[in-house]
Symmetry: D2
Subunit: 306 residues, 4 copies
């Protein structure tokens, strides 16, 4: 079955009753004040067709979804061993910001999608780029074709004021020799990446290279190699949803990446990229209605990687 | 590209130089004495074609590969919640027999493919089946079409003599109320499952339902539903290779399950099931040459789930 | 100031209002049914004087206090290295029955007073004594001069029925090569030791050697050397009160050993042995009113080791 | 037996062969370059007599011994609950700078003598004192009667350059709401305290209040109450020697505090304070020859708290 606007609308109506049963992220005020009623879904096919429903053109804080973008940029800039000597490829089996595992494993984060790993990626980008923040923004604008994408400065500043645990993570990695730059500027870059404001349509377009063997459907450019694409999808499938990757694979069966802003992207390799948005989260920190929407989508169109 | 016997032979020759660089499992004598020179690969397509090379008809100890078979049987016998209330679906992020996580998570194993989880599955089978050991053997014989499959009694007895850690795991789960039967008989069943002797051809045929929406290609029977098939593949993809699932996904990109006997099965949903065997293991406990053979196979035939 | 019966009575009245604010151990029925109103204190001076108040002649389940007796017996039977190669001398910093530390530290328990350590001691006694259970009983009878001391068979049997966690501990140590005998008989001995029924007077007399350079005041016999006495007291002071050793030292300032039956023994080296009993426990598992009674006693007589 | 200069000299000769069998702390160059041949012992009796031998007048980096001084100052300035709500009184059972326990226990350090706890104490001092660094220096000068005591600025600066792990600890405590001031200035104060240069004679005099019910023998002033003195000694006895407190109690049997500079202080309550110095450390981070000297001293004069 092919996805249609009606299908997306039906799915959103079916999951809307979940609103009120999750919890909007409230560790910073700028996220807490987002309306829990927002609900959106967008599909971008490898043919370049956009199918959308709900608040799919409204920009929101993409938060950890940015980790997939930052890792892609790092994979463009660095040789594999320069990345994978400093961060692992295995699921963490622990809360996404735990320091226990980081200490036990000598400052090498489990994967690039837990906070520690994304901070290492931010450190890598800081080492090689003269203006990493500007570069990442341009990368997002180019891939989405949306030149109005901006950083939400209030969110970035607010994250910075609640950055003690991430500072602890960065300093611990420094103590193990796995952090090269000054902690504060790197964290600032990291929080800016999390504060990117993008819509579901933006996101689906941006990550289209993951569904298309590394070629951006939007720009037609080869962003990463086919092998790197497969690697990125493998990492997303095993590590992309915090401590809920197994459950997501079991229910949805697509590589994906979530953010505490309530967005999730998911990939059907060879076919399409999907983005959903619903701000309320489940206990693992993934969008409650968003996950359910993806599960329904997977069932209804009969697609999954498994 | 379609797999051929020549392709498999080429791959085995390409990986053969890895022999000598891994380590045959030696925690029990019966495994330690297996020749490290063994090398085999078999493909079973959804059309019912067998393609094989090397020692593909020689039976070996399938060890943890049996966990996928036991879980399948449990999914046939139990409602989902009866299983998933007692065992999780998330990667463990720790060594496959660690008790630390089990204690922290109150006796609920992370997933059915670490030892603790497989022991819970064995406990479930013991509760519902009058002769669980016989039933599993019949299940394997039926799915493979090979009526000569047996338990290696020497291996099972030897495992039982080195079962202290698994006994500790079972007793700890009992202390948390997550174990219903007597420990020793359940462990005995568990070790017998691990001691199944099957060839690569047997294995590829046995697990054909995972590539074929739940229908065994060998028997034509529906073993599990299409949804259960997707769920099983999702669990294999995120948890099937001990603490090397992420690396395996990154390199091979297929759902799989390994055993310390050196076997690995891998699934290309909709197309085929693959089994490899090479007794030497990498540090994660997965077949060294076997993993490499699957990576090459994935590259050469251009198939992966990502 | 010298202790008198009046002093003990005054102290018991002062702490009596704490009854109702703790919690009687209820993990086995035989302990749960003990009246929470019981309150007792006994002092045995190095001159052989008994001073007592409350229910000081009523026998109760000494539980973990037996660990000090078992260790003493092991130190009589074994060379130091035969003991200390198998069990440490450091506080555990974790709940008394946690397996996390035991796994991290390769099956070597932190000290002989956590469960794992006491089970190693029980294993040692089982290896060298033909009738370890009988020998320990005789040891208690001889040291206390009370020939009526018995094992509470109901308590021992009840513990055995709730022994899953301790079985897990023993099997894990076996997996690390730190357990020599069959698990079940050793646990049975261990639970019998815990099920010794002794009164405060019995206990104060029994442990008088710890206050008297190794010589039992009751029997006049040298039980352990002066150096061993100092070592035993050092272990009691740093590890004798589960995860409340620091707090106990801070408040009471005496080497001591508690049991979940609500008993505590404490030592004033060179002067006297004290035993208290009140069944309700604080969150660390130590007698709530008993600890307070010892703190008052320490203040009023102006004695502590610090 | 009373201590004499000859006794100390004999003891130093007896332990001198241990030199070469330990390891001088080398995590900062300023400590690594200290001669491993240094050996010193000083006793300060409650009568005001100084007995000394070896390099007892040579100042060295007292490192963690300063934690006992800082805690004393905090106990003078704060009510008990203001301190003990923020730091525990229990041994840690883990390496002195581990973050695992700190994370598990929600940012409350186990005791004031592990790094995390001492950093909390430094945070407390920073909150209440206008010039905490100057105040601590004056405190040491006053208690020792040695007005030439200084901070080793090279050591303090060098520690600050290797402070990543301690910064991680401080930030993690901030994330849990258990740190009030800016991280860097507090760490700077903490490292200055560690960089105090004092001799064995200075140290024995400085801590004389711990042997004399809170009254400094040197100044005749009441520094802390008798109860606080008992509490400080209890904390030293259970937590003063990193992860070697149990072993130290077992062998030496005195409250004590060690530093990675190779110094140790020990207390015989009611009688004397002892300081030793030998730069080479054992695997627990305590002076190898120094511990042995204290054990011999304890045996020869027949004193211990047990």
């Amino acid at each position: 079955m092919k996805p249609t606007e009606q299908l997306l609308t039906d799915i959103l109506e079916e999951v809307r009753p979940l609103i009120g049963k999750g919890k909007v992220a409230d560790y910073i005020p700028a996220l807490a004040k987002v309306s829990n009623q927002k609900l959106a879904m967008a599909v971008y096919t490898n043919d370049g067709e956009v199918i959308k429903s709900g608040d799919a053109d409204e920009a929101f804080s993409i938060q950890s979804i940015s980790k997939a973008l930052s890792l892609t940029l790092a994979m463009v800039l660095y040789k594999p061993e320069e990345i994978w000597d400093r961060v692992g490829k295995e699921p963490s089996g622990q809360a996404f910001n735990s320091m226990i595992q980081l200490e036990m494993e000598q400052g090498i984060p489990r994967n690039p999608f837990i906070n520690a790993g994304a901070i290492v990626v931010a450190d890598l980008l800081s080492s090689r780029l003269s203006a990493p923040r500007q570069r990442l923004l341009e990368f997002a604008r180019q891939l989405s074709g949306d030149t109005h994408i901006v950083y939400d400065k209030v969110v970035a500043a607010s994250e910075m004021m609640h950055s003690d645990r991430n500072a602890a993570i960065a300093y611990l990695m420094r103590a193990f020799g796995n952090f090269d730059n000054d902690v504060i500027p790197v964290l600032n870059n990291y929080f800016h990446a999390c504060a990117l404001k993008m819509s579901c349509v933006d996101l689906a377009k941006t990550f289209s290279y993951l569904a298309n063997k590394g070629v951006s459907v939007q720009t037609g450019k080869q962003i990463v190699t086919p092998t790197q694409t497969k690697q990125l999808n493998a990492l997303l499938a095993t590590c992309g949803l915090y401590d809920g990757a197994g459950e997501f694979a079991y229910r949805v069966g697509m590589p994906g990446k979530s953010g505490v802003g309530g967005g999730i992207i998911a990939i059907v390799p060879g076919e399409m990229t999907i983005a959903v948005w619903s701000p309320e989260l489940d206990p693992s920190g993934n969008s409650l209605a968003g996950t359910q929407a993806l599960e329904l989508f997977s069932e209804k169109i009969g697609r999954s990687i498994f």
